[in-house]
């Protein structure tokens, strides 16, 4: 036991010294931002709802001469499979550019203005900020009483208020919840981006209706839609528009609007891009910050 303790103490002491040095070194970054450096483009993985919406709106995804739809994302773009990884990477690299849901923005990164428009709730609502997508829920066939009641709650005044804490409500003038509070169990599956807000909705709903039981699986948009089609989940969550094959089988509706913010490092001197430049950066036509007009 004594030995383990000693090891522990040595480890912590040694580590704090080394860690301390590391911390000092990193503070002197931020000086001397050099516009001639290469842009570090950061994207999300194929199939991600955020990427799907982003490439569609910015025109990164386009038809080629043969009429095929091609995602032209820059080959050298770093790919991460999580919002947080994108945030951490952009915060840690002065020359990086990435995109995340506006609901996840924090002070370590800067949200760029697009054509001079900031990604605020208002601008997204009135359509002047272009890069936004719906958060959808999908169901199949006849709903159980409890599922219907929970959906009523999401679309009610209370539900939309919760949504608007991080995202943008689809209905500002929703009526207050007046459900029958039935008992039963709901299984929800789908998008990792929608999951946090769905967790909050669940908590609020359970307070009103303690009889209900709700299980949320954070599996990804496509897997969620698949689960509803198979009948293994009652409600599916998607952070993108439904595909045609999914639309054929499912009923769906938007529960929130989420802006996608294009982010760069606060040390960068550029805080505004045209939508066209965003596209050019993400397909690799512009590779240096100084090439932006």
């Amino acid at each position: 036991m004594k030995r383990i303790l000693t090891i522990g103490i040595i480890l912590i002491l040694g580590a704090s010294i080394l860690g301390g040095c590391g911390a000092n070194n990193s503070t002197d970054s931020g000086k001397g931002f050099n516009l001639d450096k290469e842009i570090v483009v950061i994207s999300r993985e194929e199939g991600s709802g955020t990427r799907g919406a982003f490439v569609e709106i910015t025109g990164i995804e386009a038809k080629d001469e043969l009429g095929n739809t091609v995602d032209r994302t820059y080959e050298e773009a770093i790919v991460y499979n999580g919002t947080n990884q994108v945030l951490t990477a952009v915060a840690g690299n002065e020359y990086a550019i990435g995109y995340v849901s506006t609901g996840s923005l924090n002070e370590t990164v800067r949200a760029l203005k697009i054509d001079g428009v900031e990604p605020t709730t208002e601008n997204i609502k009135n359509g002047s900020y272009k890069i936004a997508r719906p958060f959808n829920i999908a169901t199949k066939g006849n709903l159980t009483e409890i599922t219907q009641d929970f959906i009523d709650f999401i679309m009610s005044k209370e539900g939309q208020e919760i949504v608007s804490e991080d995202f943008i409500a689809v209905d500002d003038n929703a009526a207050p919840y007046a459900g029958s509070k039935p008992s039963g169990k709901i299984i929800i599956a789908g998008s990792t981006s929608v999951t946090p807000v769905m967790e909050k909705l669940r908590e609020a709903y359970l307070e009103i209706n303690p009889e209900a039981e709700i299980e949320i699986h954070s599996t990804g948009s496509s897997a969620g839609m698949q689960a509803v089609i198979n009948g293994t989940a009652d409600i599916g969550m998607a952070s993108r528009d439904l595909k045609d094959s999914e639309k054929a089988d499912l009923d769906y509706m938007a529960i929130a609007i989420d802006g996608i913010a294009v982010i760069n490092n606060p040390a960068n001197t550029i805080d505004n891009l045209s939508l066209e430049d965003v596209t050019k950066i993400f397909i690799g036509e512009i590779t240096r910050w100084s090439h932006i007009k």
Binding site: I7, G47, Y80, T88, S222
Partner: protein, 285 residues
Amino acid sequence: MKKNFLEKFMAIVFFISATASIISVILICVFMFTGGIPALREIGLFNFIFGRKWSPSNVPPSFGIFPMILGSIYVTLGAIIIGVPIGVLTAIFLSKFCPRKIYRYIKPAVNLMAGIPSIVYGFFGMVVLVPFISNVFGGNGNSILTASILLGIMILPTIIGLSESAINSVQKSYYEGAIALGASHETAVMFTVVPAAKSGILASIVLGIGRAIGETMAVVMVAGNQARMPNGILRGIRTLTANIVMEMGYAADLHREALIATGVVLFVFILLINGIFLILKRRMN
């Protein structure tokens, strides 16, 4: 009579338990291959393995995993270049140069290294190693080099553990003979004992290769994950494992099957490496 029956019965129970590992391997093979084959049939084995373009959401999609195969190989090679010298030398240190007092602290530390979850390594790599590489070597930090260093660190305990026991099991007479011929402690260890432990050390390296090629969570966080042909040590790369874990969550239909097929390719790689390891181990004994 009753006792005799129990003896027999338990002997059978033990035997059946012993077949569990055989059954598991068979199940894994059957389900992996049947899971991957539909995609292989639809895409075509050659197009799948040697295709250079991976863009599953294009219409029509293309599923080529050649860049990922190369990625896995490059990153593993890098890990070996970094991890093996350090690992083997550390094993020599632990076995032949380490004062007993220090050994008592270092050995548990090496074991601890083996126990740290890969997700913790990955997190560390992303927040410490990536900026470090970017500052020192340039580039954006998410690179073959970074992934190699991180994997090199992660395979250290495997290499150290196996190499150390291989060196320890070399007969004393080798060492004593060299000393008797006038060699110093260092040269006796390096030029007689270590060569005698060759096949054991080689086995440790092969096992390290297996670990490196199969590592998932840590690599995803530092490798950059670009699904294109590798082009430079300071540029990023996507490995087979990263391909699976990144896209599995969102994938549907053929895309999903193609990811399972990626798992099959990885599995075949692992089986090959395991085979080599077993042969080396046989030779060592």
